[in-house]
Symmetry: C2
Subunit: 180 residues, 2 copies
Amino acid sequence: MRQEKISTRQKLLRAAEELAAETGAGHLSLEAVAARAGVSKGGLLYHFRSKAELLEAMVADYMERAAAMLGEPGRSARPDGVLSAYLDIVEDECRRHPDPPAGLLAALAEDPGMLDPLRRWERDFLARIRANASDPALAALAFLAMHGLRNMRLLNIDAVDDATRAEVLAWLRARLAPQG
Amino acid sequence: MRQEKISTRQKLLRAAEELAAETGAGHLSLEAVAARAGVSKGGLLYHFRSKAELLEAMVADYMERAAAMLGEPGRSARPDGVLSAYLDIVEDECRRHPDPPAGLLAALAEDPGMLDPLRRWERDFLARIRANASDPALAALAFLAMHGLRNMRLLNIDAVDDATRAEVLAWLRARLAPQG
DNA sequence: GTAAGTTTACCGTCCGGACGGTATTGTCAA
DNA sequence: TTGACAATACCGTCCGGACGGTAAACTTAC
């Protein structure tokens, strides 16, 4: 039944993500992922025909979640709207998921080329932000700072605490077009 | 002879760095590193008693190079001096080494805990920057943006081109204390 | 001659993936 | 409606290669 199928796939993706975070991105094994998801290795390989396919799915999953968060608002039309939405999303992400997006790391460890879709996406996204920005230089700066925050998560560095993060975000928001 | 010993060690570290970039951080094998450095695997294991030790050395090497670049200037005393030096360093790094610091990735893939020294260092460094800054919020923002640039290198994302990077750096420098 | 540096040979383990099976569900002609 | 025949979802085993690490012998340099 279609419902079940999706659920198993999702369980595998989640299990892989968790294991990557726990055992180190480079030690992700199919057996371990299958075991944690409560499936046999054969079962895993039914859903993902190879390890590469699993990792690609993890990257795609990550991008879909990001795109979904960005999709909703009608804000994007207003000046600085895209950037402002991005600030909200990253803030939310930092608060709700303090643990690193280990799927990206696992994919990167396996094959750097696997992040190509993400690279293209980031490139286009910065273009969108700048096209819609009141101050392009400030927009690029903010984009980079958000990547800095995400880098903190990726490498699990805790240099920037909650208060400092809030300070930075407030500083940026104060300089965007009003109601952007 | 002492000279030789250091040189072999260095060759191994360089070989490891290159291979990590080429074959993917998760596929770094001792045999391959040894071969590229022109040594046998046993030879490698004489200098680094285990793979973990090699990777730790790569992280340490990375940090030493970074610290060395930051060490020189008497600038650090002036307001915004530390931050200003940091901007110069990251700019220089982006220009001279466009390829990712794959050693960090390899260490991260093997064991996330291996980056702990780096984490401590970043934490202290941000504190130093802010203690010496004319505007702490701006300082944190700049710190994050620099990490954003380094993140672009780490993940090999080319979203921010040379011109945009220069624009951002100019924007920041214009807002620091004069002659910082 | 001895210690640092390096080699060669080897071991054990882990892991990706192939493969052959099973059970449940769906489809459809007679 | 029912029996034949798939298709879907999953299981368990096995193999071969890759890889980390050990051990012992060899080679300089002093």
